[in-house]
């Protein structure tokens, strides 16, 4: 194992996004022992009443380091942690916070209760000691209004879906910054384990029209334009949709479907083959059921 016991330390490095906003970039890769599961972007916002976090990273260790970094950057403790969606690379770090500090939409809270703990075995198996002491906390602050104001900072709450069953995007009115969660990926292929592609497209339409100056994606570098990353995400999910539909129509088995050529326009996308093969696993059973005619029934 490349990581020594003493080295279970994330060494989080903030990047400035806009006035009073930083992002801690995740590794644009799969969840691996070498990155400790820190693959998602996490955002820190400064307010008069304390630091606001969007997502919490993959583990208790990450959440603890995140708290210290937020204190260092803002000089204040963490006032609130927003969770964007159920995936453990975004949520499991909430173990470092009290339930009343953690905010989510009612739809996400329901998903976290039913499905959240189920990721634990997989995360511990992939990450071992990185995960020590990590136990997902269910958010105690229910988002019930279209916007929330904390310490003078007004954040619009966009309760959407498509990447998962409940995706929260957050729009910072003061800096026109969209913090998109995993509805938007940038130069890193979108992942689809709980995706509903038609709903995802509708959500991307909504996000495109907010008037933002820049976008913090859930994975990949900050997009300094209003919607290049939004367009790229849509291009990828549309391509995956069409390519896999064509693959099943041509009779390809899922091994072959995972090996189809990825168009050159996606050459800058990290983890493209990896996510395509995951998407085959997610979508092929449904595609097969719809494209293979019923040819036999119990007598």
């Amino acid at each position: 194992m490349p990581v020594a016991a003493a080295a279970f330390h994330y060494d989080l490095k903030p990047e400035v996004v806009a006035d009073g906003i930083w992002v801690i970039r995740g590794a644009d890769d799969a969840i691996l022992m070498g990155n400790g599961g820190a693959i998602a972007n996490v955002t820190i916002l400064d307010t008069k009443d304390g630091a606001v976090l969007v997502d919490a990273g993959p583990s208790l260790r990450y959440g603890t380091e995140l708290t210290a970094l937020a204190k260092k950057l803002t000089g204040k403790p963490v006032a609130r942690v927003y969770l964007t969606h159920l995936h453990p690379d975004h949520t499991y770090g909430d173990a470092a916070f009290q339930p009343l500090q953690i905010a989510a939409t009612p739809a996400l809270i329901a998903e976290l209760k039913s499905e959240g703990p189920g990721f634990s075995d997989g995360m511990y198996r992939l990450l071992g000691d990185w995960m020590r002491g990590t136990e997902l906390h269910i958010p105690g602050h229910v988002i019930a209004t279209p916007s929330e104001t904390i310490g003078g900072r007004t954040l619009r709450m966009l309760a959407l879906a498509g990447h998962s069953g409940a995706d929260l995007a957050i729009y910072d009115e003061a800096t026109k910054t969209l913090i998109a969660g995993d509805l938007v990926f940038h130069d890193r292929a979108p992942s689809t384990p709980h995706a509903d592609l038609p709903r995802w497209r509708t959500s991307l339409d909504t996000l495109k029209g907010l008037g933002q100056a820049r976008v913090v994606p859930g994975h990949g570098p900050i997009d300094l334009t209003p919607h290049a990353a939004i367009d790229q995400t849509r291009d990828w999910i549309d391509w995956v949709d069409t390519a896999l539909t064509d693959a099943i129509q041509a009779g390809l088995d899922p091994v072959e479907a995972g090996e189809i050529a990825i168009p050159p326009r996606f050459a800058m996308m990290k983890a493209a083959r990896y996510e395509l093969q995951r998407s085959v696993s997610h979508f092929y059973p449904g595609l097969e059921e719809r494209s293979l005619p019923l040819v036999g029934k119990r007598a």
Partner: protein, 265 residues
């Protein structure tokens, strides 16, 4: 597992020198000696050969259903293809005896842990060629924990079969999918219950092949074969599960379903 016990007893009785029959494992599997004997039998001639193309994804996103394809079309005189995974509790999943078919099969298997996944082909002279690779069953971290049965409604759909035939010039292909829980007998005191045999025949009456399956094949088994059929011929299948439920039907190239609406739910 009675046969396993007998095999194990037999294995322990043999002097260590008998191991010489199996070549040294290219994958360094701790189970190779044992599994090799189980699959190939005693004194079999076994060689590693990269022309046995064993192909699977880089990631086991769903360890309950991991796609595996074995393509041995570069090798003449193949009569049988087996698929097995050393570290699975039920190592062998597929045993395909082929007649008028290309030496090709694709399916999905269950994975229990990090394991070699192998394909082996038997030639007319009885010897075996084998190939394969390691796969980690850990998945992507966003997959829910493995459970025995994913779909609860299997009982109402038992016997249901889907299929499609592609008459690509010179390389016809048939994909068959069956609703079945494929219970291993290892979970929640549910006894082993699986689709054990599927025989495929052309409408002209020639045998295409018979696939024997174990419970290590994924729930709702899918088989892709390459039958050697004449233009216009259809393919029929008949098989049975371990409770004697019969699966039968005919797949014609014309049986194409309504246009597929896309990958999203």
């Amino acid at each position: 597992m009675k046969t396993l016990g007998i095999l194990l007893a037999g294995l322990l009785a043999i002097p260590a020198t008998a191991d010489a029959a199996l070549p040294k494992d290219q994958l360094g599997s701790p189970m190779w000696g044992y599994v090799g004997k189980q699959v190939f039998g005693e004194n079999a001639v076994v060689r590693f050969d990269p022309r046995v193309k064993v192909d699977f994804p880089k990631i086991a996103e769903n360890q309950r259903s991991f796609p595996v394809q074995v393509d041995a079309r570069a090798i003449p005189n193949v009569v049988r293809i087996v698929i097995f995974a050393d570290m699975n509790p039920i190592q062998q999943s597929i045993d395909f005896s082929l007649a008028n078919a290309e030496p090709f099969i694709a399916t999905r298997i269950k994975l229990d842990q990090r394991t070699p996944v192998r394909g082996a082909v038997q030639l007319k002279d009885g010897s075996w060629l084998v190939s394969g690779g390691w796969i980690d069953a850990a998945g992507g971290g966003c997959s829910a924990p493995p459970v025995s049965r994913v779909k609860g409604d299997w009982a109402q759909h038992l016997g249901e079969s889907r299929g499609r035939l592609w008459e690509n010039a010179g390389a016809a292909r048939v994909m068959l999918s069956f609703r079945h829980p494929m219970d291993t007998g290892f979970v929640d005191n549910i006894p082993a219950y699986y689709l054990e045999r599927m025989t495929v025949t052309s409408s002209g009456g020639s045998a295409i092949g018979t696939v024997h399956m174990q419970a290590s094949v994924a729930e709702d088994p899918v088989l892709t074969l390459m039958p050697k059929i004449k233009p216009g011929e259809s393919v029929s299948f008949d098989g049975r599960d371990t409770n004697g439920i019969e699966y039968a039907g005919i797949v014609t190239a014309a049986t194409v379903g309504a246009a597929v609406q896309g990958a999203g739910r």
